[in-house]
Structure formats: structure tokens, C-alpha cells
């Protein structure tokens, strides 16, 4: 019976219009920083990880939550401070080991351990329990209504594999450590790792045991991922057919790609804001020319810098219209964003100079700006533009542009005075921004906050957000925190990115605000 069914299916497949399947060559400016799924909370790192590993749930194209390794989830009827997740059955890891609740407990504990860069997302978690082979309970400090939305980038590893390969500890990437988990991968995802040469080439192939066979398109059989930092080389690779898909079409080449027969441009507003960070907390700065004082500690200097920036010029010339200038470090997708916060500060060089003079820096000062050159759209050009704008108020900026693999450790280690950073918000909620970027840097939170800012009152308000169940009260608290952040000019927001994917027309894959292609959905017709 089964055999004849299979035979019929095979015959049918032969007659029906054949479904295309094949490899996909994918390029973007920068590589994933590590394969360790909990070591670095960074977009391109997660994008590669999403092909190999899976979280309990993911976001769909519209930002809603979709089951992945969990099939359903709900607060416990007995205790609102507990979330119950029912897990998918019959899932195996790529090495053949079975997936169960022990792996989830292990992975979530790993993700909230000290070295993890994902721990802010689980800061409200106080305990994890496996209540059955396919059921897990997550205990939070008070009821946390938004916890499921925090889990979309927390990947599940195989506990036995991690223990057997000395990968229980999260890789210490900022100290330059290279661990087994950073160079090997074993997830439950649709693609498994074939080979990886960091910054050169990563090859993935379809996982034959994937649970989603039959559910997802899975027409991409193999993935060859190549980082191409140079924008001209990257777009040339797409135009000549050397690659099928580039995730970041240079803004100057949008028309060229759109006009090319057989290629398509896919654009979407991105859930990512680009801004400058200022080390206001250090008693003295390493890179400045003022002895014994930190000029950035003076709010007037930060305000002067904020209004010296001409965001419209950056949008028009550097970004060629592919950005949305903003006055707050939250994209409009985020709960807590308001049009009032978003209002772009008017450029006013005269007032900026007056503020500098009142702060005692009428002659300006010198400082170094650390900038990545392979992460965000035209990141280095944005920094160069800022050098010119800040020079007009007497701040002499020495620009140090380098690959993100060298840039991000400066932020993690707090060894930068002035830096460019972009922040995507996978939870679509302000709490994520506060936890990583505003909260004082301590064991649990503030890992991406290199400003040295510390405000215990504000910290308490941020921590309280996780257990506030009254959504109106929670939103009021969020608004209150944003008021403080804006009044302090903690960061200098620049713009929200517009993402532009370029692909061969046969690749069926829509752009999403997370800038996260999931190739299991892709079709090749």
C-alpha cells in the first residue's frame, strides 16, 4: 500500500510541472561574527544562525509570532508568573539526536548565563522547569506578558552535543576566544553547516531530517554565503550573476539593479535605527585632547553635537533618500515610539556653538570616532559626513573606520569614546532598547551600553517594566523613561534604515522589516 502510494507520488511528480529546486548564492557586506548562537546579539550573526538553529518561536513577515520549536504557549492557569510552552514532537538535531525539553532548559539557561549576549532578553526569568519531555515552564519575576516576544532570537542547542564538545560555556567573543560552538553548529533548522571560512565563505546544505519538510517550500537545496564588503564588487557580483541574492544593494546602485532584466529590487522600511553613542560616564576620555575632564559629560556639549548634525543632508546625499531621519533611537515599529519623540532636531550651528561656549569649549576639542565599515548602509560615509558637521562647531573628529568584527568589541569592552551603532528591535518593544542600551551596565543588563550612563532610578523603572501586567501603566512608564533619555541626549539618533534586497527574479522571498531572509520559505520559479 505504502509502496504503491509512493509510486503514484513519483509518477505524479514526473508529470506535474516540475518544481524548481537548486542552490542559492547569497552575499552581504559583512559576515556572521560567530556560530555560537548566544555569543553575539547582532543581525547578520542571527540571520545565518536562523538557517541552522531554531528558536521556540519566530516572527512572521508582519511581525506577529509564529510557532517554531514550540507549538503553542500560554500563561499557566495556576500562576500568572509562569509561561508554559508545549514543544514540537519528532524533531531531531542535525546530528540525529532527538530534541526534547532538556535541550530547551539547557539552551535558555545558557542564553541567560553571564557571558551570553542574549541575557537581557531573559533578565526577568528566575527559573526553568522541564515538566514533561515536550513541555517547559518558564518562571518569571512576576507576570511578564511580553516574554514570548523576547524568545524569537534565542536558539536551541542540543545539550548532549554541547556537553560532549565542551560548548556549555558561551564563547567570550569580546576577549577574542574561539570555541568549538563558534566554529561548529548542530541545530534543528532547515540547513546544516557544510563548511565555514570566516569572512570568506560559508556553505550550508538542506537538512534531510528537517521536521518542516512538506510544510515549507524548501526549494533552496544549498546555500553559499559570501561576505563582500566592497559595495561596487557586491553589486557587480549580482549584476554578473555570480550571486543570486544580495541583502544590501548599495543605495547608489538601486536604479541600476531595478533596471536590469532578470533582477528584482525588494525594499521595505527596516526595523533598525542608526545613531551615535557618546561615552559620557568616564571621568576622562582616552581619545580627546582635554586633560582631566570629559567634555561629553556636559549635557550642553551633547546637545550641541545633536543639533550640529544635518540629518536631512545625510538622507539626501549619503543615503540618497533611503532613510528616515529621526530624533529617537526607536524605529516606528516599536511599542513606545511616538511622533513627538521622533521629531528630528533642527540643525542649528549657531545655537550649537553657543552651547559649546557655555560649556566652556568655545575652541572645541578633538576626539576619535569609531565607525564600522561593513555593517550598516553607508556606515563609513555617515561617519565622514558627521566629521564635517562637527568640525563646524569646533569638534575635530579623527575617524577610525574598521570592520565590525573589530568595532563591536570596543562597545562590548567600553573602550570607545564616540561610536556609531545601529539597533534593530526584534521584540518590537521599547524594553529591549532600554535593557541593552540605557540600563547601567551590570551582570544582567546594559551589555551594549558603552555610554557609561548610570541612573539607578531609571534602572529601577526599566527593571519594573518586565513584570508590569497593566499595559497602560507599562506604556506610561515607557513614555516616562523615554523623556529622561531624550532630556539627557544620551545618544545622537540619525535615521531609520530602508532595506533594499537585490535578487534574481526567480527567487521568491519577500523583504521583511527584520532584514532576515529565511530561506526555508524561498521558492525558485
Amino acid at each position: 500500500m505504502t509502496r504503491s502510494l509512493l509510486l503514484a507520488a513519483a509518477l505524479l511528480a514526473g508529470v506535474a510541472p516540475s518544481v524548481q529546486a537548486g542552490p542559492l548564492r547569497w552575499a552581504r557586506a559583512g559576515d556572521s561574527l560567530t556560530l555560537d548562537p548566544h555569543a553575539k546579539n547582532e543581525g547578520p550573526t542571527h540571520t545565518l544562525a536562523h538557517q541552522i538553529y531554531e528558536p521556540l518561536l519566530i516572527r512572521d513577515a508582519s511581525g506577529g509570532l509564529e510557532p517554531a520549536l514550540a507549538t503553542d504557549w500560554a500563561p499557566s492557569p495556576q500562576d500568572p508568573g509562569v509561561w508554559v510552552f508545549n514543544l514540537r514532537q519528532g524533531v531531531t538535531f542535525q546530528d540525529g539526536a532527538a530534541f526534547d525539553s532538556a535541550d530547551v532548559v539547557f539552551s535558555l539557561n545558557r542564553a541567560r548565563s553571564g557571558r551570553s549576549d542574549m541575557k537581557e532578553l531573559l533578565a526577568s526569568v528566575t527559573g526553568l522547569r522541564a515538566t514533561g519531555p515536550y513541555q517547559v515552564e518558564i518562571v518569571t519575576e512576576g507576570p511578564n506578558p511580553i516574554l514570548p516576544g523576547n524568545l524569537t532570537n534565542i536558539f536551541i542547542m542540543d545539550e548532549d552535543w554541547a556537553r560532549a564538545n565542551d560548548a556549555v560555556e558561551v564563547q567570550n567573543i569580546s576577549a577574542g576566544e574561539v570555541s568549538f560552538a563558534a566554529t561548529h553548529a548542530n541545530g534543528t533548522g532547515p540547513y546544516s553547516l557544510v563548511s565555514r571560512d570566516p569572512d570568506v565563505k560559508t556553505v550550508l546544505t538542506q537538512n534531510p531530517g528537517y521536521w518542516g519538510r512538506g510544510t515549507f517550500a524548501l526549494q533552496v537545496t544549498d546555500i553559499v554565503f559570501t561576505p563582500i564588503q566592497n559595495p561596487a564588487t557586491r553589486v557587480a557580483a549580482l549584476l554578473t550573476g555570480e550571486v543570486d541574492f544580495i541583502q544590501d544593494v548599495p543605495v547608489q546602485d538601486l536604479n541600476r539593479v531595478a533596471a536590469e532584466p532578470g533582477l528584482e529590487l525588494r525594499s521595505a522600511p527596516q526595523n533598525r535605527v542608526i545613531f551615535f553613542g557618546l561615552n559620557m560616564g568616564a571621568p576622562d576620555l582616552q581619545s580627546d585632547d582635554v586633560e582631566g575632564v570629559n567634555p561629553l559629560a556636559d549635557a550642553r556639549v551633547r546637545q550641541a553635537m545633536n543639533i550640529a548634525l544635518n540629518r536631512d543632508a545625510i538622507r539626501q546625499v549619503v543615503m540618497r533618500g533611503q532613510s528616515r531621519p529621526t530624533g529617537v533611537i526607536a524605529p516606528p515599529f516599536v511599542n513606545g515610539w511616538t511622533a513627538e519623540l521622533d521629531r528630528v532636531p533642527a540643525t542649528d550651528v549657531t545655537r550649537a556653538k553657543a552651547l559649546m561656549a557655555r560649556a566652556g569649549f568655545e575652541d572645541g576639542f578633538a576626539i576619535r570616532l569609531d565607525c564600522p565599515n561593513d555593517r550598516y548602509v553607508n556606515d563609513e560615509a555617515i561617519c565622514q559626513a558627521a566629521v564635517g558637521m562637527l568640525a563646524q562647531i569646533g569638534i575635530s573628529v579623527a575617524l577610525d573606520a574598521k570592520p565590525k568584527a573589530q568595532h563591536f568589541p570596543l562597545i562590548a569592552n567600553g573602550t570607545t569614546d564616540f561610536y556609531l551603532l545601529g539597533w534593530g528591535v526584534p521584540t518590537y518593544d521599547s524594553e529591549y532598547i532600554f535593557n541593552f542600551l540605557i540600563h547601567s551596565r551590570d551582570d544582567m543588563r546594559g551589555s551594549w551600553n558603552a555610554t557609561g550612563y548610570s541612573n539607578p532610578d531609571l534602572d529601577a523603572k526599566i527593571e519594573a517594566l518586565a513584570s508590569e501586567t497593566d499595559m497602560d501603566a507599562r506604556n506610561a512608564a515607557i513614555a516616562e523613561i523615554w523623556q529622561v533619555v531624550q532630556a539627557e541626549t544620551l545618544y545622537l539618533p540619525i535615521h531609520d534604515q530602508v532595506l533594499n534586497w537585490g535578487a534574481t527574479a526567480k527567487l521568491g522571498l519577500a523583504a521583511n522589516p527584520e532584514d532576515l531572509p529565511r530561506f526555508k520559505y524561498a521558492t525558485l520559479n
Partner: protein
Amino acid sequence: MMGRAADGAIGRGQSLARTPRALLSLGVLAGLVLAAIGAPLLAPHDPFDPATLDLMNGFTAPMTHNPYTGDLFWLGADDQGRDVFSAILFGLRISLFVGMSAVALAAMLGVSLGLLAGYLGGWVDGLTMRAADVQLTFPAILVAMLIFGVAKGITPVAYRDEMAIWVLILAIGLSDWVPFARVVRGAAMVEASRDYVLAARLSGRSGPAIMLRHILPNVLSPVLVIATIGLAQAIVTEATLSFLGIGAPPTQPSLGTLIRTGQSYLFSGEWWILAFPAATLLALALAVNLLGDWLRDRLNPVLQ
């Protein structure tokens, strides 16, 4: 043979006049060098002062008025609104300065080692020439990249930009000494066995004195040829390193740095950001090379 002609060959003005190609090269080179020297006077803008830049001037085409600011740029403006003409003048300065200093360093090193090896012979000769052989097996650009990387690694971050130019000179100079050493060694060996050197030795002159006063002047003319061709090479090596993003920093752009910026805008039609610096580099390298060729022919007794 080649050494003796040194005094007479160089200054023959008529010969140069009778070679239009060489004359043209000399003219182009002289023009470029003068433009580089006079850059602060000639350039309409100071490309090193970021306070004078207006981002809204970005991507202004050559000889057109910017629609927002109304500014006009002869050779257009780059992505940051920098005047391409001024950037080329200042870039030329850095390219020529790095090229000449690197060749001077390479020549000093190569000539000294070659003289020692040729005059002393023995293990000094063996050691120097084996070192030269080893270095020749690597392309000069790789050696330069290696030296540049190591030097950049040991310079404190704060001084990196200021040091970049000197590191560049060191890297190119150290990777280019071999041709000098080889030629000088050969010539020095020939000279060392001549009667006048023997006479000097018998009259009790010291080794260093014989090398510097007697042998050196007689081996200099091939050095001049190598130096000229080496200058073209050094300029191109510097441009290559800067193009790869490991040479002159963006705050002190050389021609290679300008070409690196410009090539991002080739597909989008902003050709002037790349074309003008590239044409300048081509003219410079070609002029120096043709001049070197002419010099080689002039100093070659066989071709006289």
C-alpha cells in the same frame, strides 16, 4: 663599463630635445610636481579641513552648479562634497612624497648593502644576496603589506593616522631595495678589481673611504635609472595599498585613496570621482616610466 659614463651622460640637453616622448614626459612630470608643490595656492578648497565641506555639495557633476548650494566644481565633487580637483592636487602631494621618500629609502638601503656586498665579498656578500633572493621570491606588494600590517599593529591607535604616511614609506622602501643592491653589488665587484681601487688600497685608504669616494661615484648611473623606474613602481604600489584601504588614511587621501572612494560610484554614473584621480595617477606613472626608459637608453653605452 656602464659606470664610467656617469658624469657626461646626464646633462645632454639636445638629446632630450630630440626625443619628443621624453620631452613630453618631462613636461607632464614637471607640471604635476609643480601642481603638487603649489597645491595650497592652486586648490580652491582645502580638502583636509572638514569644516569647509558642505555635504549638500556631494556628487556635484563637473562644470555644473549644485542645485542646492549653487557651487561650481571644475572636476566635480565627491560623495562628501569635497572638490575633486583640490583633492587630486593634495593627493598628488602625498603620492609623490611617499613615492620619492620610499625610493630614497630603498636606494640608500640597497646601495649601502650592495656596496658592502660587492666590495667585501665573502660571507657579507653571501648573506646579503641570499636575503635579496628570498625577498625577491615574494611580490613587493606582499612584503609591503606585511611590513605595513606589523607596523600598524605596533603603533598606538592615537598616532595611527599621523604615522600612516611614514609607515607607508617604510613599507614600500623596505620592499624595494633589492634591485638597487643587486646592480650596485655587480658594479662594485667590477670596480673593486680595477687598478685605481688597488692603487687607493695600496696608498693606505680605509675601506669605507674607498667605497664612498672611489667606487660609489662610478656605480651611480644605473642607480639613477633604477631609482626613476622604481619611483613609478613606488607610486603605483602606494596607490595599490591605499586602494586596498591599508595605505593613506581617508583624512590624508592619496590618489589611491581617491580611486578607492570613486570606484563605489562607477555603476551609478558618478564617473568623475574615479576618472580624474585615476587619469592623474596614470599620467604620473607613465611620465616617470617613460623618463626612466629614456634615461636607461641614454646611459647604455651599447645604444650610444
